[in-house]
């Protein structure tokens, strides 16, 4: 079966190279037949990669430990669910998953556009094939999951395949971790589609906004996957790693945040290009950055260049990634410079008080944030090159820069929609700012009166209220107008309004989700923690809570043994519930342990308990955190996903990714709302 898998990968590489060659030849000779054959080769390559992935899954499920991926990431006792997840439980297999997802994306794009964009598509195929060929070659020649494992005896004799695997890293045995890598991969990889269209548009000089409209949904979907992946990773860190937080500015976390930040900038700036014909060069640069940051993210995770808890071990792939990233960046920039005359703006910026300039500022902030994160992440490597000393920077660096940027972005989220396109009069601004302003100032006053003095938290909560009011006002005003003019019920008007202009109102829902996430983040300033070594009957205090140790039990499962402590939680003397933090020791994986935290979550705060193990004198090490407002991070993320799904809803009768110009029709109405 492993030979079959290898053969499929090799076949796919041959087909990919053929498709690359044929699509370029077809474009050059203007022979559509040749392009057709390239398209068929793409489909065949996808099928072949799917078969390879299928054979790997078969090997994993049947526990064939002679295959390296199976041996490294599974064991007999592992539940079947995790055996499947073990596909991405070790380095080489995760690259196979990467290739598989890439091929599916590629296949869908080629299939969808088989009758469209005759001038552009050959180049789109070519760019997609370069991308696929790169990862396929890595997977086949340098990082092959189908490699064989043999045991070597002390005297150098071959002993055959191992009888038992090493087991899936226990830290990965958690539901969010099982779906986190594939979702994140979808997010990393997805940017290849807008990137391929952008490059094809440059090469074929088709520089209208067709490439942006066609890939709009891809970009949104990719952005959504990336955001969801980030949140799931944060959730995993919170629940599994047991240090009480969810974000540590770890290089691997950073590497998935960076494309998300630039992707967010791109989502906003394409709106300007679609509506105003501006920022064309900027959008090209952003889309190249999005794609390369995605590749760079896998580079950081896989090359071992930056040390991280998450990273796969050092591997030899680093230089190939750097070469690839460098080549793509140079080619992309060359194309942009060469085609500059085609990328002229149709218009100039009219006024600072315009929605365009709010978008521009938002873009600047997001890119600066990304740059700061990149700088901090790569600083150890840079300083070693330049000075010979490896210097690392910690969370304070990232927080100091990114908290103010985050607050500025939050402000823009509220202010942007209040500005009209082109130019806003002071009069209309006064009107628009009145209600949100009143609410914001009232919030600030209440918080100050309540004794809150933390500057960033005050700003964050005040702005959150400001933005929330602007968002609700937008919905309310527009729905009321619609209800009046159509004689509809208010709620029906609200729903129809949203569905009619999904991008705008779905976007507002996303903004609202972001606001809630910010509220959740602001709670960080008030985290409390305590730890105590306890005997049964002891009580520890944290904040308003008391935790009484009542019991301890141990038990055995096929996969691990565990010890669980029973802690009765009281708040202000009232019994809440029994917390059961747990410690597990896995039978394979060299006795690796994991910490199963026990969390009581309320909108106000989380009570987070950790059982850290037995001490030598038979007492129990307990650690507790009280983390205010964390709930809102997860809830806000859910709202964000919901909003993004609204924007992704297919338009009436339209297939997925059908270019829609309908949003332009809503301009007059939007403007009329503004003028009120």
């Amino acid at each position: 079966m492993s030979e079959f898998g290898n053969f499929c990968l090799l076949l796919a590489l041959v087909l990919t190279l053929y498709a690359l060659f044929a699509s370029l030849l077809g474009a050059w000779r203007k022979q559509h037949r040749i392009v057709r054959s390239a398209e068929r080769a793409v489909m065949a390559a996808c099928g072949s990669i799917t078969l390879a992935t299928g054979s790997m899954l078969y090997l994993l499920i049947t526990s064939d430990f002679s295959v390296s991926q199976v041996w490294e990431a599974t064991s007999h006792a592992l539940p079947i669910f995790y055996k499947i997840a073990a596909l991405w439980g070790a380095h080489n297999g995760s690259l196979l998953l990467w290739v598989f997802i890439t091929s599916i994306f590629t296949g869908v794009v080629v299939y969808q556009n088989r009758f469209r964009y005759r001038d552009m598509m050959p180049y789109v195929i070519a760019v997609l094939m370069v991308n696929l060929a790169f990862f396929l070659s890595l997977n086949l020649f340098l990082s092959n999951p189908f490699n064989h494992v043999v045991q070597v005896g002390a005297d150098g004799s071959m002993l055959g395949a191992p009888a038992e695997g090493r087991g899936l890293n226990p830290l990965l045995q958690y539901w969010a971790m099982v779906i986190h890598p594939p979702i994140l991969y979808l997010g990393f990889i997805g940017f290849v589609v807008p990137f391929a269209f952008a490059m094809a548009a440059l090469i074929s000089r088709q520089l209208g906004d067709a490439w942006i409209r066609t890939t709009r949904r891809w970009t949104l979907l990719t952005w959504l996957f990336l955001g969801t992946g980030l949140i799931l990773g944060a959730k995993w860190a919170y629940v599994v790693l047991g240090w009480g937080g969810y974000w540590g500015w770890d290089p691997v976390e950073n590497s998935s945040l960076m494309p998300w930040l630039v992707g967010t900038a791109f989502l906003h700036s394409v709106i300007i290009q679609e509506r105003k014909g501006m920022l064309k060069v900027w959008n090209m640069i952003l889309v190249i950055m999005c794609y390369l940051l995605g590749v760079f993210g896998t580079f950081i995770t896989r090359s071992g260049v930056v040390s991280s808890v998450h990273a796969f071990a050092d591997s030899s792939l680093g230089k190939y990634f750097l070469l690839y990233i460098g080549t793509i960046a140079v080619c992309g920039l060359f194309l942009i410079i060469d085609r500059l005359p085609y990328l002229k703006s149709d218009r100039q910026l009219d006024s600072v008080l315009s929605r365009e300039s709010a978008f521009l500022f938002n873009n600047m902030m997001l890119v600066v944030a990304c740059f700061a994160v990149l700088w901090g992440t790569m600083f150890p490597v840079l300083s070693e090159w330049l000075q010979g000393n490896k210097i690392t920077v910690g969370p304070p660096f990232f927080n100091r820069i990114n908290i103010p940027i985050g607050l500025l972005l939050l402000l823009l989220t509220g202010v942007g929609p209040l500005f009209a396109w082109r130019k806003t009069s002071i009069e209309s601004l006064k009107k628009a700012f009145f209600l949100p302003g009143v609410f914001a100032i009232a919030t600030l006053a209440v918080l100050l009166a309540a004794g809150m003095r933390n500057f960033y938290t005050l700003m964050c909560l005040t702005l959150a209220v400001f933005v929330t009011v602007t968002i609700f006002e937008e919905f309310y005003k527009a729905a009321r107008i619609r209800a009046k003019s159509n004689g509809e019920n208010f709620l029906i008007a609200l729903t129809r309004l949203t569905l009619k202009n999904k991008r705008r109102y779905g976007g507002y829902v996303v903004h609202f989700g972001i606001v809630l996430i910010f509220v959740g983040l602001s709670g960080n300033a008030f985290n409390q923690e305590a730890s105590q070594t306890m005997a049964p009957g002891d009580t520890m205090k944290i904040g308003d809570y008391a935790l009484k140790l009542t019991d301890y039990r141990e038990a055995d499962t096929p996969n691990y043994v565990y010890g669980v402590t029973y802690l009765d939680a009281y708040k202000d003397g009232k019994f809440l519930r029994t917390m059961k933090p747990e410690k597990r020791f896995y039978k394979t994986s060299e006795g690796q342990s994991t910490t199963e935290v026990s969390i009581r979550s309320t909108p106000k705060e989380d009570l987070y308990t950790v059982f850290n193990g037995l001490t030598d004198d038979g007492r129990y090490e307990i650690k507790a955190h009280v983390n205010p407002l964390v709930f809102w991070v997860w809830f806000g993320a859910a709202i964000m996903v919901f909003g993004a799904l609204i924007t992704l809803l297919p338009d009436r009768g339209g297939a997925f990714a059908t270019p829609q110009v309908s949003m332009n029709l809503s301009v007059p109405m939007e403007e009329s709302v503004k003028e009120q």
């Binding site: 390296s68 064989h148 494992v149 043999v150 040390s307 490896k390 103010p404 923690e529 690796q592 910490t595």
Partner: protein, 127 residues
């Protein structure tokens, strides 16, 4: 434009402050052995493998020994965070703390990973 420049300047300044606050030299145990006199008072992150059987949880705070290329360093963990699950005999550890004259390194933070050990062994076994 001016506003943008002011904002950028402010961010650069904040970045610089944060950088000074959190920068740490990343060195291995053997580099620590030769350099620790120059590094007095500076924050460092020292990387090394946890020596088999050296973790002494009986002592509070906990002590252990990390090594690289034959040099060893005794570490006392004085931080508040829970020691990560990946921290155990043989794992690669990264301990962070301020260099002082004392013979025992006072670590305020520990990171650990064991994945690379898997890979190293795996490489030996692969045909």
């Amino acid at each position: 434009m001016v506003g943008g420049a002011v904002v950028l300047a402010a961010l650069v300044w904040l970045g610089f402050v944060g950088f000074q606050e959190s920068k740490a030299y990343y060195i291995t145990v053997n580099e620590y052995a030769t350099m620790h006199n120059q590094l007095q008072g500076k924050t460092v992150k020292v990387a090394g493998d946890v020596v088999q059987g050296s973790i002494d949880r009986g002592k509070i705070p906990m002590e252990f020994v990390i090594s690289s290329q034959g040099q060893e360093l005794r570490v006392r963990y004085v931080g508040k965070d829970v020691v990560p699950d990946t921290f155990k005999d043989g794992s690669q550890a990264l301990v962070e703390g301020v260099v002082s004259q004392a013979g025992v390194f006072q670590a305020s933070h520990i990171e650990a990973k064991c994945a690379s050990k898997y890979e190293a062994e795996y490489a030996k076994k692969t045909k």
